[in-house]
């Protein structure tokens, strides 16, 4: 079954322990300077944003049908059945299509390295595959970030919205966005205020390209037959014209034998 994360912004106290646990798990540096950075980067996979007394996490949404994995020409990014979208860095050639394609702007690049990698949260895939929760969920002192089955987390989110409609905006972010994501968010503040886009399609993005790509296998033989047919007709016409004396009979080879 597919695992997921539920982040309830109303329970978050902004302690940023998830940031630190994430950095430790991914062997990234973490100090006060990094903690103060308010955006995801190649060395900061998750970030807790603060606005007055409200908080919001940003991390890879680990989409159910991820654009990044669909666009990657070498399948360096892959969606696992367990939920996480993983990155195999020894495959990546650095085209950065994933970065352009991701509707959440999640994949980041090591711009200042000579041999750079794409970097992003992979939902602690090693731990999840071993049946353990993600580092951020494990450390969270208030249960704001909760790990579990995505379907169960979704039901729980819906329950929380029903029980306390005044506490939340009536939207579970990630339930339908781009066909659903493994990470689900609920909040008392509209998501757009923390930079989450509100104009995303509910269709998985890979559908938009697959509609076109899936026609290629038909196109190749059809194109070949069509062009071959046109060639046959045009040259047959010429042949007939020559036989009927409407065109001069020239051996094309004779002309070509002349050296330049």
């Amino acid at each position: 079954m597919s695992k997921g994360l539920l982040y309830d912004a109303t329970l978050c106290i902004g302690c940023k322990q998830c940031e630190q646990a994430c950095a430790e798990h991914n062997k990234l540096p973490y100090d006060d300077a990094v903690a103060a950075e308010e955006q995801q980067s190649a060395h900061k996979y998750t970030v807790v944003l603060t606005k007055a007394d409200k908080f919001m996490r940003r991390l890879c949404m680990n989409c159910s049908d991820p654009a990044c994995a669909s666009v990657c020409p070498v399948a360096a990014l892959q969606k696992t059945a367990a939920g996480p979208v993983i990155y195999k860095e020894d495959r990546c050639m650095g085209c950065r299509y994933c970065m352009v394609a991701c509707p959440f702007g999640v994949p980041k690049y090591e711009w200042n390295k000579v041999l750079p990698r794409v970097q992003k949260c992979t939902m602690c895939s090693d731990k999840v595959l071993a049946g353990k929760p993600t580092s951020c969920a494990e450390i969270c002192p208030t249960g704001a970030t909760k790990f579990g089955e995505r379907s169960e987390l979704l039901a729980e989110a819906q329950q929380r919205l029903r029980d306390n409609p005044g506490n939340y905006v009536n939207h579970i972010y990630g339930q339908e966005e781009v066909g659903g994501t493994s990470v689900l968010l609920i909040s008392s503040v509209p998501f757009i205020e923390f930079g989450y886009r509100s104009n995303l399609s509910t269709d998985p993005l890979p559908l938009f390209t697959y509609r076109v790509l899936s026609r290629i296998p038909d196109f190749v033989p059809m194109g070949g037959i069509l062009l071959g047919g046109v060639w046959w007709i045009t040259h047959r016409r010429e042949e007939v014209a020559r036989a009927e004396g409407r065109l001069p009979k020239i051996e094309p080879a004779a002309k070509e034998k002349k050296k330049p």
């Binding site: 654009a67 020409p73 070498v74 950065r96 702007g105 711009w111 076109v212 194109g223 060639w231």
Partner: protein, 388 residues
Amino acid sequence: MRFRLTFWKLTFLLLMAAGLYATVVRFTQGLGAATNLSDRFPWGLWIGFDVLCGVMLAAGGFTLTATVHIFNIERMKPIVRPTVLTAFLGYLLVCVALMYDLGRPYRIWHPVIMRNPHSVMFEVAYCVMLYTTVLALEFLPVVLERFHLHRPLRWMRSVTIPLVIAGVILSTLHQSSLGSLYLIMPNSLYPLWYSPLLPVFFFLSAIAVGLAMTIFESSMSSKYFGQQLELPILRELGRVLFVVLAIFAMLRFEDLLHRGALPLTMKPGYEMGLFWVEVLLAILLPLCLLAFKKVRNTPSGLYVAAVMVVLGFVTNRLNVSITGLEQTAGMHYVPKWTEIAVTGAIIAAGFALFGLAVKYLPIFQHAPATEEPRMLPVKVPELVHAGD
């Protein structure tokens, strides 16, 4: 050997020196130092111009080989070789540019064994790889002829038609797929440019630019290489160009109308401005010009229209790949000078290689015009005696 420094040689050397410096920065310090690319704007000039426009500018190759070999329009034959040469050089340079842009260029071969058939980029990679091979084979007879290798020349002739057919199919696929690359961004790309018809637009514009480039390059060749201008052929190309542009214009505006994006063409702003630059240069002005017989039948009229079409569709591709994504990124992307230096050096290399090929290989199949070329050519004194 006497070496005379002329204006064009000096320009070439300066561009190459700048390009060389930028190359050193790029490969010793990484993309961050050499470009203005960032996490918010991961694709810039090298993808937008060198790759997207490069492939488009090389589209004459498949259009013209199909015209001559498949549709059997023999009178177009004299311009096939220079066009195939342009296409071949174009694709080689696109591959060079890709080596700059890829974070790990030494893995450029990975798609050969690590396949993801759901990726448009994967398909483009395969098509470009195969089509560059096809172009090399289509160009090979010229080299064989130069060295009087008649037997392999006959072998090559026997596979011309399958090669041309493969070339047309591969080109159709990847020219349109360059547009499909952007289909994955329905919510990021500005609505003036995002359209489900992107692959169709990219394909049609490739044909238009292929024709325009053929006109442009024939005009340049007559100016600088003392070639006789194939005016009757160019006139015909101009007529076809008019039709292709008319179809493109109709589809483009119909698409805007159906998607409800037409009001955006009048919404003042950065996007609107660049949209009209694109539409005026690529569609409206050339259509007006080519509609007049007087213009269509004169070398200068055709030349001006062709240059406009090329510039217009270059603007179009830059709009799709850069302008249209700036609002979502929340920033303006301006290339760093090192990015421009690499692009400049690649273009200069293209011109130089074309000149060299014309000098040493039988590209133009008939004798050069006897009269002296009108404009003062840099290389003509040597070139008139070329190929012997």
